[in-house]
């Protein structure tokens, strides 16, 4: 049984959730979903993970690595991974354009597997996380490269194969992504009652 693990701290609307939905859509066998939103895996998650022989972590890049709550969960899961010996895959997304910036986070999951003595099977590092949820709804167009990487990952999960880490980004120019992102921040601060120039605020 394959367990898809949403490791975003967000309970809804996360890019990690979007990526897992796409991945699930490419999988032949129905996976089981679970969440690690906080620093401790809950009883239900532990039970689900104990029944899985394949674990697929999906999470956002925080400060160039794994979010602290998920790092805490990994330390809690190390013993279970040692006992159950799952095959482990991971999908990391970052707000930067370049998917390769996710490399240290994938390495952390690989190092976790080495500690637990279970099998690291590779993953996907996706850039453009800030636009993934929006663009994925539009179909394959700009999200096509990410979709293709997740299809390949689904095939490898299905066959139990290891893959090299694959780094991808959206099929739009970096400048367009940058400008759209910055417009998004201005809209969000205005929606919260602020002004665009408040984004530049310095605290003394």
């Amino acid at each position: 049984m394959t367990v898809l693990i949403n490791g975003s701290p967000k309970h809804s609307g996360s890019a990690s959730g979007t990526l897992l939905d796409i991945l699930k859509g490419h999988m032949r066998a129905e996976p089981v979903m679970t969440c690690l939103h906080g620093p401790e895996p809950g009883t239900e998650s532990l039970k689900t993970l104990a029944e899985g022989d394949v674990w697929v972590f999906a999470f956002p890049l925080y400060v160039d690595s794994v979010p602290s709550h998920l790092l805490a969960c990994l330390t809690e899961l190390e013993q279970l991974a040692r006992e159950k010996q799952p095959k482990v895959y991971a999908v990391v997304n970052c707000g930067f354009y370049e998917g390769r910036q996710n490399r240290p986070a994938l390495e952390i999951i690989e190092n976790f597997c080495a500690r637990a003595g279970c099998r690291w099977c590779g993953g996907v590092g996706a850039g453009g996380g800030g636009a993934l949820s929006t663009l994925a709804k539009l179909g394959k167009g700009p999200a096509g490269p990410v979709d293709a990487a997740l299809r390949e990952l689904a095939e490898n999960i299905g066959s139990g194969s290891r893959q090299e880490n694959r780094y991808v980004t959206l099929g739009i120019p970096r400048l367009m992504y940058k400008l759209a992102g910055e417009m998004g921040w201005r809209k969000m601060i205005k929606a919260n009652g602020g002004r665009a120039r408040d984004l530049d605020k310095r605290i003394t």
């Binding site: 701290p9 967000k10 160039d64 979010p67 602290s68 790092l71 240290p104 984004l199 605020k201």
Partner: protein, 162 residues
């Protein structure tokens, strides 16, 4: 000023000059990815538990020093949490540096990031990951990378001066 973030209740190292120490005590909640520190109260985390001003603290230091257990090549969850909660130090807008997208700086100070990792059997792979992360942190802060050193345990840090 040096900003030292550690998971040790007592810092075993000596420190030259002025510094601020963030260490375990009052529990800090984890970052929930709300970006409130950019779009609701810019510069300050919206979770008020004693960790909300760390972004400002970073703006007042010239050196960020991490003293932490090495966990899979990362800092420990405590130290990582403090870093996650301090992203208000940088601006949400992007800048391209070294051919890659990073965050624009919010403040004028330029800091150096260094790290002192401890653990009984840190692997070569974990060392490589830790060094890569410190380098990436330095680039994202638009700062510089200082030393990254590894120790068998906290007691070995007693001879170190930060």
């Amino acid at each position: 000023m040096k900003l030292i973030i550690t998971d040790l209740e007592t810092l075993p190292c000596r420190v030259d000059g002025e510094y601020k120490l963030i260490r375990p005590g009052r529990p800090f909640r984890h970052c929930v990815g709300c970006f409130g520190c950019w779009i609701k109260t810019p510069g300050v985390c919206v979770i008020h538990d004693g960790c909300e001003m760390t972004g400002r603290d970073l703006s007042k230091c010239s050196e960020l020093i991490l003293v932490s257990r090495c966990v899979y090549g990362c800092t420990s969850p405590f130290v990582k949490n403090v870093l996650d909660r301090a992203i208000s130090y940088i601006h949400p807008y992007f800048a391209v540096r070294g051919g890659e997208m990073h965050h624009r700086r919010r403040y004028e100070n330029r800091l150096t990031v260094s790290a002192y990792f401890y653990g009984p059997d840190i692997t070569e792979a974990e060392r490589a990951t830790a060094e890569r992360i410190v380098q990436a942190n330095a680039v994202n802060y638009d700062g510089g990378a200082g030393p990254v050193r590894f120790f068998q345990g906290p007691e070995e840090l007693e001879g170190v001066t930060l």
